[in-house]
């Protein structure tokens, strides 16, 4: 049998046969059969969400504007955000660095609201959740942009999503 040494703090050797891992995998690794419709449902949802954002980028190109506005959009859309490295600080797309980033996708109103910034003050805090909750309770008309969790309805779960974003230690992520 082949050997596999499990070192624990370097002071203790447990010589475990590879057969243990193989048998455990045989027991607990289920044969995977994912229905194609499940794949489609997940990827279609992703496609809509990601394509939608991509359209927001492209829309300015399609709108006839004054020469100065066209130049601005050209600069904006041709400037790509710096790739976020694993050991860097907050992503350059974070709203807190609005002044530095030129990514239209990040700073469109819809994007802000979709992240839970209901009152559009540039940050997500408990007041966003509070205001969304009050609006839901008032029974007034809903804006699809308040469907924070993307489940097709604006309800208490969206309020909770915003509230949890407000208290997230990783701020800026919803």
């Amino acid at each position: 049998m082949t050997e596999n040494h499990e070192h624990l703090d370097g002071n203790f050797d447990l010589k475990v046969s590879d057969k243990l891992s193989a048998d455990l995998k045989g027991l607990f690794e289920r044969e995977v059969a994912i229905p194609a419709e499940v794949d489609r449902a997940i990827l279609d949802g992703a496609g809509q969400r990601l394509v939608r954002h991509r359209r927001r980028r492209l829309l300015p190109w399609a709108i006839p504007t004054a020469a100065a506005a066209v130049i601005v959009f050209a600069v904006v859309l041709n400037t790509k955000p710096e790739p976020a490295k694993l050991d860097e600080g907050p992503s350059p797309l974070a709203p807190q660095r609005k002044a530095a980033s030129k990514d239209v996708y990040s700073y469109s109103l819809a994007a802000m609201v979709s992240r839970g910034d209901v009152d559009l003050n540039g940050r997500v805090d408990i007041l966003d959740a509070f205001k969304l909750a009050r609006h839901i309770e008032s029974g007034n008309s809903m804006n699809w942009k308040w469907d924070i969790n993307g489940d097709g309805v604006v309800d208490r779960q969206d309020v909770d999503s915003v509230a949890f974003s407000a208290v997230s230690l990783d701020k800026g992520v919803l």
């Binding site: 002071n11 203790f12 408990i126 007041l127 509070f130 949890f164 208290v167 230690l169």
Partner: protein
């Protein structure tokens, strides 16, 4: 309304090294001089009613681990507040809650209790910042935040 006090506690196992059978290898890291302490958080909104709050608590000395969060004393904040579960077993937490009813506290009220595990004998260096305090209209109001230690709330 049924008063719901949600206490989330994470049990911290402290195993004293048994020794001989395992030789010098300890089954679990020794944790010495650990004590548990509740920290009661108060917000004083003066004459204004308090409908929403958000605060951040951290320990600059790195001595604490947050092991649980308890709701406040007033019925408006009697349900478990919002917080990031990643804060548990960490030394920094953001806590927030709101209530959309008309029954809201005024003056000084305990909004939450944070249960802490403190390592060593030194005192933690708490930093407590009130980020949001708002009234029933959703308008931010002037308020003060403070904390008290000990079993008495």
């Amino acid at each position: 309304m049924k008063k719901l006090i949600a206490i989330v506690l994470i049990s911290v196992s402290m195993v004293v090294s048994v020794g001989a059978q395992q030789g010098d290898w300890d089954p679990e890291p020794d944790v010495e001089n650990v004590r548990f302490e509740p920290l009661h958080i108060y917000v004083d909104s003066g004459d204004s009613s308090l409908a929403a709050y958000q605060f951040e608590l951290k320990d600059s000395a790195g001595l604490i681990e947050i092991v649980g969060v308890e709701s406040g004393e007033h019925a408006a904040f009697s349900e478990a507040p919002y917080y990031d579960s990643a804060a548990l077993a960490n030394n920094r937490i953001i806590i927030a809650a709101f209530n959309t009813t008309d029954e809201l506290p005024t003056g000084r009220t305990r909004v939450a209790t944070v249960h802490l595990q403190i390592k060593g004998d030194a005192e933690p260096d708490y930093e407590l910042e009130l980020t949001i305090a708002a009234n029933a209209d959703g308008d931010e109001i002037a308020a003060e935040i403070s904390f008290e230690k000990g079993e008495q709330k």
